[in-house]
Symmetry: C2
Subunit: 134 residues, 2 copies
């Protein structure tokens, strides 16, 4: 297997240091923002536990914790719409992550490019994008 | 008082429709990502309750719920580093908000431009920005 670009985090010691800097909440989770590499488009917000952060750093395949299914969820494992990690950043308080990713296909389960397609307007909410055709 | 650009949400009915689309968590909160208008820079992640969303939409002054102080927190109320709302978007599941803002000064309480200044590296964490001089 060729080393993937961006798969920079390899040692267990480095991952442990990074995990130590994250303030997981009472449920053991931290919110993670996925942002498209190169454009800055915010794609989605999901949640990670320690195992998800470790899997993401060790494989560069972005992996979340599914709160609905209560299991690790490698993004794209069923849809093919994977996220390859370019960079992971931790905020000042350690209670939020920012992931720079290369997104394959639409990020949203509605088949839209990103999840933030409902815009607040004077009339309530407006839909600002349509599902991408397969 | 001149009408501020971006202060488009004014009616109580519109705000009620928007609030109805948000899935607040068991603590009555929703995570809100603040992104700089024009550049796409992700500035910070904070939390909003219903009153914070309402205050933000009605005033265009971004207002969060401070979990540490357990009170509404108009961003910049003490620092002057305010956020003016340009657009508010709700994600597919209604459990995350994306705020497009005009940020006055540094967004981070450490006086950095944004809160995500700790980058995961092979050696652990690297600091990627310095506090802005006053």
């Amino acid at each position: 297997v060729a080393k993937k670009e961006g798969a920079a985090i390899v040692t267990r010691q480095a991952v442990d240091k990074i995990l130590d800097a994250i303030a997981f909440d009472d449920a053991g989770l931290v919110p993670a923002i996925a942002q498209r590499h190169g454009t800055g488009e915010v794609l989605m917000l999901a949640w990670m536990n320690r195992d998800a952060v470790r899997a993401t750093l060790e494989s560069s395949d972005v992996t979340y914790w599914s709160r609905s299914r209560q299991k690790l969820w490698r993004k794209g494992e069923s849809s093919g719409h994977t996220q390859r990690l370019i960079a992971l950043r931790i905020d000042c308080d350690g209670d939020a992550l920012l992931l720079e990713v290369e997104q394959a296909g639409p990020a949203c389960h509605t088949n839209r490019a990103n999840c933030f397609f409902r815009l607040a307007t004077e009339d309530g909410l407006a839909m600002t994008s349509e599902p991408i055709e397969d």
